[in-house]
């Protein structure tokens, strides 16, 4: 009958326990058998008991040393038999040895459990298992380190090149082994292998870049393919953490290290060829913030380059047309790139920034002309009779440009002039004008819109007055007065208007209105600005009847012919007291301008001399009943306008700027009492930035002047330090 044998050496603390030498022989044999795969022939009980007894007898230290030496012996033997006899792949041999060692180690540490718990813990020694791993690291792995690393590198590079024969499972096991083994304070993988892996990766992709022969525009797609491929390969044998590290390295090589190529060639080409989806790809691939920045900068540079290539078409005869064409081209471009870049950006703010930066550059280049063009563009928008919604939309786009304009004061100058004309001539819907001004106020603040608002007030007050005036006086004519606050309007004050002799009808009206106005607002002085007004006169010419709208001076002249058949220039001057330059200008308008030749001039020349004679041109005709007489520009005026065409702001604007800067300096210094020069500059620059760009030259000149006038003084010890003088 089959019997079960009990192999336990009969209880603990057996007084007849064998000597250390005998016990060690038992253990050593058992460990050999474990390495030979014969574990199932061994009794756990017996072996555990051997270790237990030795440990209890305080022979743990000796046992521990012996086990350590056993591992060394065994591993040396494995090294010789595995690596030096077989010629097969070093990696698979390594793995075989590793697996065998680990398995054996696990079983050995099972039987040495009591040693681990008692001896190792009390004496702060490594556990048997960990000690075995370290022995493996030193004896096997480090001995063949160079070869192992280079073989693995080769395998991985083969995988990147698409080789089919790569054994990913082996690579995975090797990495796992390296992560299991500790070294210094970290894993062997981190201290030894990873640097080599990363270096191999870098070399591989650097090599790719140096040999890159494809077109710039296909680079984003190529990079995407490479990254995908790398990820695919990595996923087969690496964990997430390492994959991320490798991806970062690869991106670093392909994008960050290659950023010059990426920006200067790839991005520019993509923008030039309108390959926006590739551009988007390029952006999403460049994940490092500094790379993204470079890309945005490149976009911005490219756009500003393109914008500056839109030159105002100076061949167009009319300045207005050139301005409108230039501005709308620019607006279209802006819309296009905003669309493109907004699509790319992951947050909403940055796209505007890149485009805005670009347009700020475009607008500051050739600044004065651009400001003029923009104002003119707005003027033509407001004068056009397009639908209100559409106009508002276009206005919005123009305001976005206006925001980016640095020399806002230049713009303001022309804008106010044009606005005043539009208002007085009632050439634009007041609602839209107000809307525009409100929008500007929202964008750049209230100081900018003080004058326009004053103008609107004048206009609306005047309308009320007109109605009242019409109610209280019998007025035979349609008669609109605009009373203007002169500080709000961009006109020079006239002084000699009183002496002008008006035709009787007008004189009466004038007196009536003055009368009315004085009654309403006592203590105010009305000064008449005839040169701003206009008058409609109906007249039967030989062929047709026309209603002619003309400036007041022209009307005064025209009405002289009610009583006179023919007059010389000198006569007219005597009869009306109109200043000579105005008289000549209006005569040129009435007698020379081809479309509105209401007067005949003798002799027929282009110049007006005091002796020239004028009479009504009865043969005048025009295709429309209504005729508008536009005042021609006198020569000197057109000259000033022509000279103002250059880029630098006019002397007048410079003067205003100077005042503005000085005021700002005093304001700032008064608040702070004392400041260093650069702080002062910074604060002043900030406070005027909504109007123009402050340059250090202007600033220093203003400071010098203020010091001279004793608004402030330099510190005696430090000349860059200023004190406010109350």
């Amino acid at each position: 009958m089959f019997k079960i044998q009990i192999r336990s050496p009969g209880g603990l603390g057996d007084k007849r326990a064998p000597s250390f030498g005998d016990s060690w022989e038992v253990l050593k044999n058992a460990m050999w058998m474990i390495y030979d795969g014969r574990v199932s022939e061994l009794s756990f009980e017996v072996l555990f008991n051997v270790v237990y007894t030795l440990t209890l007898r305080k022979q743990g230290a000796e046992l521990y040393e012996k086990i350590g030496r056993f591992f060394e012996e065994k591993l040396h033997e494995l090294k010789i038999s595995a690596f030096e006899t077989s010629s097969t792949n070093v990696l698979s041999t390594l793995l075989q040895v590793w697996d065998k060692h680990c398995e054996s180690l696990r079983l050995i540490s099972d039987i040495t459990m009591y040693l681990d718990k008692v001896y190792c813990k009390e004496n702060r020694r490594q556990l048997i298992y960990d000690m075995g791993l370290e022995k493996f690291r030193d004896i096997i792995l480090k001995a063949s380190k160079g070869e192992v690393h280079s073989q693995m590198g080769k395998e991985i590079n083969n995988a990147r090149l698409g080789s089919e024969t790569v054994d990913f499972q082996a690579l995975k096991s090797l990495i796992a082994m390296m992560e299991t083994l500790t070294d210094i304070s970290d894993t062997y993988y981190l201290t030894e292998f990873e640097p080599s892996l990363l270096q191999d990766t870098r070399d591989f992709y650097r090599n790719f870049i140096t040999n890159y022969t494809g077109e710039a525009i296909s680079y984003p797609k190529e990079v995407q393919v490479l990254l995908d491929k790398e990820r695919e390969v990595d996923a087969k044998f690496l964990n997430q953490d390492i994959m991320i590290k490798l991806s970062t390295v690869v991106e670093g090589i392909l994008i960050s290290d290659n950023i010059q190529f990426v920006t200067e060639q790839v991005v520019s080409e993509l923008l030039r060829k309108d390959l926006h989806s590739d551009l988007r790809l390029m952006f999403s691939l460049s994940r490092a913030p500094q790379d993204k920045k470079r890309l945005w900068k490149q976009c911005s540079q490219y756009i500003s380059g393109e914008g500056m290539s839109i030159t105002g078409d100076l061949t167009l005869k009319k300045r207005t047309q050139a301005a409108v064409k230039w501005t709308s081209e620019l607006i279209d471009m802006k819309k296009k790139y905003e669309l493109v870049l907004r699509d790319i950006a992951d947050d909403d703010s940055i796209d505007i920034k890149a485009v805005n930066e670009a347009f700020a550059v475009i607008l500051s280049h050739n600044g004065k002309r651009n400001a003029d063009f923009l104002a003119t563009y707005l003027d033509s928008l407001l004068r056009s009779s397009a639908a209100e919604d559409l106009t508002k939309l276009q206005m919005e786009e123009a305001i976005a440009m206006f925001k980016l304009l640095r020399d806002k004061d230049v713009f303001e100058k022309l804008y106010l002039q044009q606005l005043s004309k539009r208002l007085l001539q009632q050439r634009s819907p007041i609602k839209l004008e107000k809307h525009l001004v409100n929008r500007m106020k929202e964008e750049v603040g209230g100081s900018f819109t003080l004058k326009p608002e004053g103008m609107f007030r004048d206009i609306s007050v005047s309308q009320v007055n007109n109605t009242r005036f019409h109610q209280s006086y019998q007025v035979p004519y349609a008669y609109d007065m605009s009373v203007l606050t002169w500080t709000c309007w961009p006109f020079q004050q006239t002084s000699n208007e009183k002496q002008i002799i008006l035709p009787a009808a007008l004189e009466g009206l004038k007196l009536d209105y003055e009368n009315y106005y004085m009654k309403t607002y006592s203590g105010r002085v009305l000064t008449w600005a005839y040169h701003l007004g206009s008058l409609d006169i109906g007249f039967q010419f030989k062929k047709s009847y026309h209603i002619i709208t003309m400036p007041i001076y022209a009307a005064i002249i025209f009405m002289l012919f009610e009583n006179h058949e023919e007059l010389t220039t000198q006569d007219m001057s005597d009869l009306t007291n109109i200043p000579e330059n105005e008289l000549i200008r209006n005569l040129l308008t009435l007698a020379i301008a081809p479309k509105t030749r209401l007067l005949k001039k003798q002799p027929m020349s282009k110049k007006v001399l005091p002796s020239d004679k004028f009479r009504i041109n009865h043969s005048f005709s025009s295709p429309t009943t209504k005729v508008k007489v536009l005042a021609v520009l006198s020569k000197s005026e057109s000259e000033t306008q022509a000279t103002s065409n250059n880029d630098s702001p006019t002397a007048e604007i410079l003067g205003e700027r100077r005042q503005c800067v000085e005021a700002a300096i005093v304001r700032v210094l008064k608040r702070n009492q004392k400041l260093y020069s650069d702080q002062l500059f910074e604060k002043v620059r900030e406070s005027v930035t909504s109007r123009f760009q402050l340059d250090p030259g202007t600033f220093h000149k203003s400071v010098d002047r203020l010091v001279e006038r004793e608004y402030m003084q330099r510190d005696p010890d430090d000349s860059s330090f200023y004190h406010y003088l109350p």
Partner: protein
């Protein structure tokens, strides 16, 4: 119940003192942790009031409740001595499904899913074809219904069918109930009627009673209170069943002689016996005796010992007999191995078994040394601590053993608690001990340990004795200096008398050391 009452009082005492091991030992006797003493204090309140952080954590782990919506819980939180204790209480307060885990219960729960040693040996299936793998012995121990079914079934049968009208959740409820996995919060009201019906059928009366009571309740707080109460009841019920079962294991032991090997037919008859073992434990009668007892045991219980856990999980000879069936459970038709117990003493073995099966921790002092030795060899740390506690608790122990025997044990098994106990005992009767030759020997051994330990320049044993001398007379080190000042006052105070006796005790120890020529 008087005894529980006594245990509870003792528990409250240790909670004040802050003795984690003693509290753990008493909890294992099944004391209701959420009871109150005559002053309406709960053990948790006492522990947190007295500032014993480890103890608070232990009590909470073992199922003490701190619900701040109720008076008792709020009192614990306000009474907490330190912020860190309060934080522990507040953190535990959130868990609704309180896991009342006694260590043996936690081990049982882990066996339901643990496939580490693949010891499941039965498939339980319902009529819908759902299956779950279980242990036969647990069914035997915990359900009379299943026990009778199992006993009439052969080793070659592997599956057991549930009655027809069991609802789909039945399988889950049964297995969780058997393995003491908290399940009450998982039974929906919808199922509770049907579950209750088959519980009665299977003899799970406690569960049936709970479902009945809970169905009348609406208030969630009330329900969770009820759950806690019943979860505790289930654990205690299971402990009793496991106790009975362990008694069966012991009763079924067979005397054998190993001179010619153990006859297989003996093992076979035990294998189909009332405990359905999957391993046999052999205990020699005496050292190097050829005779001994074989106990029919269960691997999934023995693995509570680290020693057996590694043995069964490894691939040494002991595991080579086991096979799995096609269905993925243990094949019971093969022979099971006999493993031997490291101590040649049946009493010790049975004590260890009763600890493993149902957490018995009241170790009789007579067996304490052996149990200590065995639990050290088998790597059962908790039992080691419990046994050390038993030694310190027993006054008879020192009548049979000298204090120096205890010291030997303490050193051999690295039990600091016992070392302190010895030092305290010596301090309490120093005039006697300084005359003992063993005392000198002990001091020499302690100082020789110093060289190997290389810790400080002192002898640990002497240091400990000095410390307990101070404690004995309730003296602070600072007091000594102060007393020197008023020595001339001539005023007889109690303190002064104490100091005086202390000094003479102290001097006795010093004399001894001087005599031995030891520099401390």
């Amino acid at each position: 119940m008087r005894s529980t009452d006594q245990n509870f009082k003792e528990l409250c005492y240790w909670c004040r003192i802050g003795d984690v091991e003693n509290v753990d030992r008493l909890i294992s006797t099944g004391v209701n942790l959420n009871d109150n003493d005559e002053f309406n204090n709960s053990p948790l309140f006492l522990a947190s009031l007295c500032g014993h952080e480890d103890l608070v954590t232990l009590l909470l782990k073992r199922g003490a409740i701190c619900d701040r919506d109720r008076h008792e819980g709020a009192r614990c939180i306000y009474g907490a001595l330190t912020d860190s204790i309060r934080n522990i209480l507040l953190k535990y307060d959130i868990s609704k499904a309180v896991d009342l885990k006694q260590p043996f219960a936690a081990h049982l729960s882990s066996q339901l899913n643990d496939r580490g040693i693949k010891s499941h040996d039965l498939i339980l299936q319902d009529r819908a074809g759902q299956k779950v793998k279980l242990h036969r012995f647990l069914l035997l121990a915990r359900s009379s219904h299943f026990a009778s079914q199992l006993q009439s079934m052969g080793d070659d049968h592997i599956a057991l069918d549930l009655p027809e009208d069991v609802p789909p959740v039945g399988l889950d409820v049964i297995s969780k109930y058997l393995y003491l996995v908290p399940l009450l919060h998982g039974i929906s009201r919808k199922d509770s009627l049907a579950v209750g019906r088959f519980c009665k059928l299977l003899g799970f009366d406690g569960l049936a009673e709970f479902l009945e009571k809970a169905s009348d309740l609406q208030d969630q707080v009330e329900i969770s209170k009820l759950m806690t109460e019943f979860q505790h009841r289930f654990t205690e019920e299971a402990r009793k069943q496991m106790q009975e079962f362990a008694a069966t294991v012991v009763r079924e032991k067979r005397l054998v002689s190993v001179t010619n090997g153990i006859p297989l037919d003996v093992l076979h008859s035990m294998k189909v016996g009332p405990t359905m073992p999957d391993v046999f434990l052999f205990v020699r009668k005496r050292e190097s005796s050829e005779e001994g007892f074989i106990y029919p045991c269960h691997r999934s219980i023995l693995t509570r010992s680290e020693y057996f856990k590694v043995m069964f999980a490894s691939s040494f000879d002991e595991t080579t007999l086991y096979r799995q069936t096609q269905e993925g459970i243990l094949d019971r038709t093969v022979n099971f191995p006999v493993v031997s117990f490291p101590i040649c003493d049946c009493q010790t073995a049975e004590l260890i078994l009763s600890y493993l099966y149902y957490d018995r921790t009241d170790i009789p002092w007579q067996s304490a040394i052996n149990v200590l030795r065995a639990s050290d060899a088998l790597l059962i740390d908790r039992l080691k601590t419990m046994t050390a506690v038993a030694i310190t608790q027993s006054s008879e122990f020192l009548e049979m053993h000298t204090v120096f025997d205890v010291l030997d044990v303490a050193w051999e098994f690295r039990l600091e608690r016992l070392e302190h106990h010895v030092a305290k005992t010596i301090a309490d009767n120093i005039p006697f001990y300084v005359t003992q030759p063993s005392m000198r020997e002990a001091i020499l051994r302690s100082s020789s340990m110093l060289q190997t330990r290389e810790e400080t320049d002192t002898i640990e044993l002497v240091d400990d004795i000095r410390y307990y001398l101070l404690k004995k007379y309730n003296i602070d080190v600072e007091d000594l200096d102060e007393i020197n000042w008023d020595e001339n006052d001539g005023e007889e105070s109690i303190t002064r008398k104490d100091i005086f006796t202390y000094k003479s005790d102290f001097q006795r120890l010093e004399n001894l050391l001087q005599d031995m020529n030891v520099n401390v």
